[in-house]
């Protein structure tokens, strides 16, 4: 184990701080964002600046529009720490940069990499993930949306659902049944689909937070070139699983947990209930410290997983637990935020006395969505016990 910040890292940090001193004031605030809509322009400009200085898309090769640095754990930690501490956005995130790009780097053709990675990391091309369907959620390999050959194209027909950001996306990476004769898993392909293709219809769905956070997407003979398949036809299941691995890391990012914890500590020091800070309540303080120990554990867990990845060592069961553990802690942090506010913690929308724009309530609900999305907690437990602990799959019920 070696986490010494040698002189090289100290100067890396100093440069980053100087960069932030110069630019932070005009930067978008907090977290990572999807670069769509009116707010998108400011985020794209910030992202361009981050990439130019190597603080975003750092390890993406130069020829694909990244900064082209060697992977280095401490640099990554320093970037997260400093951008978080300055309260500025860590740049463009979401399913494109965090899920599609690593998948393309691993499985994409040279042409696909050239064409999509640059615009995606710059935030010019926004992506959505078209996996789930009304009849296929946890049992994802049963998807029915199908493609039939028509010359060198496919004609796609069917329906996706719960598709986050589909209403603002330029592209979808979808799991489509292209080989109807093949068995369940072997009949799927991973297809890149332009969202402006005629025959695609997107209808937003309002979630419990009150926002339209995901969508239904209908396909009716939507024409897409067969060249848009990533990897080979029929390999879609394996490729989709690469993407899901990245999603699970993204959903439980320890930088996000750390940011939420900081906001929570601030909240609990600033509010006054009966003249006392929530921090002065031993019970709330105990819960806060318990969660801090878990956020800290997940932070070093992420370092451990990154190390295993860089050293090419199989992480074993430890590599499968991040989504389950991280999303749970995230939900509990937001729940504590509500409890710290007590009755005023219930306020929502544009209510008078609202705190932090209602974020504790909306994030408490949103993080419940994260516990379900990307493979439910129960599916995670199946994966951990089967792939991590070597326990047998559920036997299939006898066919009636």
């Amino acid at each position: 184990m070696d986490l010494t910040y040698g002189p090289r890292y100290e100067s890396f940090r100093d440069e980053l701080r100087a960069f932030l001193a110069e630019h932070a004031e005009r930067a978008p605030r907090g977290g990572v964002g999807v670069s769509a809509g009116a707010a998108g322009e400011a985020l794209r400009q910030w992202q361009a600046l981050l990439i130019e200085h190597g603080y975003a898309a750092r390890t993406i090769p130069k020829e694909y529009g990244g900064y082209g640095a060697e992977p280095d754990i401490l640099e990554r930690v320093i970037i997260d720490e400093e951008l978080n501490a300055a309260g500025v956005s860590r740049g463009v995130g979401g399913q494109g940069p965090e899920m599609l790009v690593p998948t393309l780097l691993e499985h994409g053709s040279e042409e696909q990499k050239q064409r999509h990675i640059g615009p995606t990391v710059r935030g010019e091309e926004v992506w959505c993930q078209g996996y789930s369907e009304p009849g296929s959620g946890s049992d994802l390999a049963s998807v029915q949306t199908r493609a039939v050959e028509d010359g060198s194209d496919f004609l796609i027909t069917g329906q996706k659902i719960w598709t986050s950001t589909a209403d603002v996306s330029d592209m979808m990476f979808g799991l489509i049944r292209t080989e109807p004769e093949a068995k369940k898993h072997a009949g799927l392909s991973y297809v890149l689909i332009p969202m402006d293709t005629p025959g695609i219809d997107v209808r937003p769905l309002v979630t419990m937070t009150g926002q339209a956070e995901f969508n239904e997407v209908f396909f009716n003979d939507a024409r897409v070139p067969q060249a848009n398949v990533v990897g080979k036809r029929g390999e879609g299941w394996a490729i989709a699983n690469t993407t899901l691995r990245h999603e699970r890391n993204m959903l439980a990012s320890s930088a996000v947990l750390d940011g939420t914890l900081r906001s929570l500590i601030t909240l609990m020091g600033e509010e006054r209930v009966n003249g006392e800070r929530p921090l002065d309540s031993p019970v709330l303080r105990d819960r806060l410290m318990s969660l801090q120990s878990r956020v800290t554990a997940l932070k070093y867990h992420q370092l451990r997983m990154l190390t295993a990845q860089l050293q090419g060592r199989p992480p074993g069961v430890a590599g499968l637990v991040t989504k389950l553990a991280g999303c749970e802690v995230s939900h509990q942090l937001n729940g504590l935020g509500i409890d710290a506010l007590g009755e005023l913690g219930t306020l929502y929308d544009d209510s008078k006395h609202l705190r932090a724009g209602g974020r504790w309530q909306s994030q408490h609900m949103f993080t419940l969505g994260l516990i379900i999305g990307g493979g439910t907690a129960q599916i995670q437990k199946n994966i951990i016990s089967e792939r991590g602990l070597g326990m047998p799959r559920e036997p299939k019920p006898a066919k009636a």
């Binding site: 070696d2 986490l3 020091g269 303080r285 120990s293 190390t307 637990v321 199946n382 326990m391 036997p395």
Partner: protein
């Protein structure tokens, strides 16, 4: 640049586990501690020959000069085997106190003996964390008066390291000194030997650090103890999970192994999901003890608190997976359950540690 165990550390864990599996399986532990808690037969001596007692002792004093992460790996493996022996007090807390505050002469005389295992030092640390009634040891006219409970690794100790006046001083006292009464205190965990000491004008055989000037060394000793207890709970619960999975793959009900029932699989998955991030925190707390002085106390508190929550969850769940047999004396699973139960209380349970963590960060006065 990496956050992983070294090859040597992985080897240490493997070789210790192999040794315990062959020479000291739980059936043997059971025999050893049947008459007296903490009694280790020749096991501690054999472990000392493997260099376990001298891990933290500098090479110039006959040890291997390794760090807290190595000690944590060893503690984890020892608890994996519910091994008796004074690792916590004699191989971690005492050497740390001596390294921090001992004179060169004391180090030269005492550390080599600790490293070979010819000397055992027990540590009286309970009152640093929770004081009962009149308990606590004070110095009057150069002699010790008072009581201390739950002295760590008291079984077979040659010397006691006793914090005086709330940890301001660190006195070494000989076992059997005039005016000292030692009474064994059995706990649920028979793999460790605890005692109460009553001092009635006991002579200090020597001070570690200045009389009344050892607070910083006491603090380091406490942090080290917490890191190693966290590692102990990690190792014990890790083994409980292994035993639960192995049992679930072999026990059949309703014509199938119980490990194919999702209810059982999910219990096992929950144990793993709690344990693995906790392991990462134990590693970091051990690393911070040696390399991040500003964070060392906070990380020791957090790691000990988290393992005190996670450990008990894992051992009780592993017991449930075993069904009725898990509840029997004969099955021996309870040795791990009890080890973790005691780990949780020693040197601060979660509530105590959370309070300390908040204070260390200035979140509360």
């Amino acid at each position: 640049m990496d956050f992983a165990l070294s090859e040597e550390q992985e080897l240490l864990a493997q070789s210790l586990r192999r040794f315990l599996e062959e020479d000291c399986p739980v059936t043997r532990v059971r025999e050893l501690v049947a008459d007296e808690p903490g009694s280790d037969g020749g096991v501690w001596k054999a472990l000392c020959e493997l260099g376990i007692a001298g891990l933290l002792v500098p090479e110039e004093h006959g040890g291997s000069g390794l760090g807290m992460l190595d000690a944590a790996i060893a503690a984890e493996s020892l608890a994996w085997g519910v091994c008796p022996g004074p690792f916590l007090a004699s191989a971690v807390m005492a050497p740390i106190a001596l390294a921090e505050a001992g004179t060169p002469e004391q180090q030269k005389r005492l550390l080599p003996a600790l490293a070979t295992g010819s000397l055992r030092i027990a540590v009286a640390a309970t009152e640093l964390v929770s004081k009962r009634g009149e308990a606590g040891v004070e110095v009057r006219d150069g002699r010790l008066h008072g009581t201390t409970l739950l002295v760590l690794d008291a079984f077979g100790a040659d010397l006691f390291l006793v914090p005086t006046d709330g940890g301001a001083g660190l006195a070494l006292v000989e076992a059997g000194a005039a005016g000292l009464v030692q009474t064994g205190l059995p706990t649920v965990d028979r793999t460790r030997g605890f005692a109460e000491l009553v001092f009635d004008g006991v002579a200090v055989s020597e001070w570690v650090g200045a009389e009344g000037g050892a607070a910083a060394a006491t603090r380091r000793m406490l942090d080290a103890g917490r890191v190693v207890l966290a590692a102990d709970a990690l190792g014990a619960s890790e083994r409980a999970l292994e035993l639960a999975v192995a049992y679930a793959l072999q026990r059949k009900q309703f014509d199938r192994v119980i490990g194919s029932f999702q209810a059982v699989k999910h219990l096992c998955a929950e144990m793993a999901a709690e344990l693995e991030p906790a392991r990462s925190l134990v590693w970091y707390a051990a690393h911070a003890f040696d390399h991040e002085p500003d964070e060392a106390s906070l990380m020791a508190a957090h790691a000990k608190a988290l393992l005190s929550e996670v450990g008990p969850f894992v051992v009780r769940t592993a017991t449930e997976v075993h069904g009725g047999i898990g509840f029997t004396d004969e099955q021996n699973l309870h040795y791990w359950f009890k080890r973790v139960g005691v780990d949780r209380q020693l040197l601060g349970a979660p509530e105590v540690l959370h309070e300390e963590a908040a204070r260390l960060q200035g979140l509360v006065d």
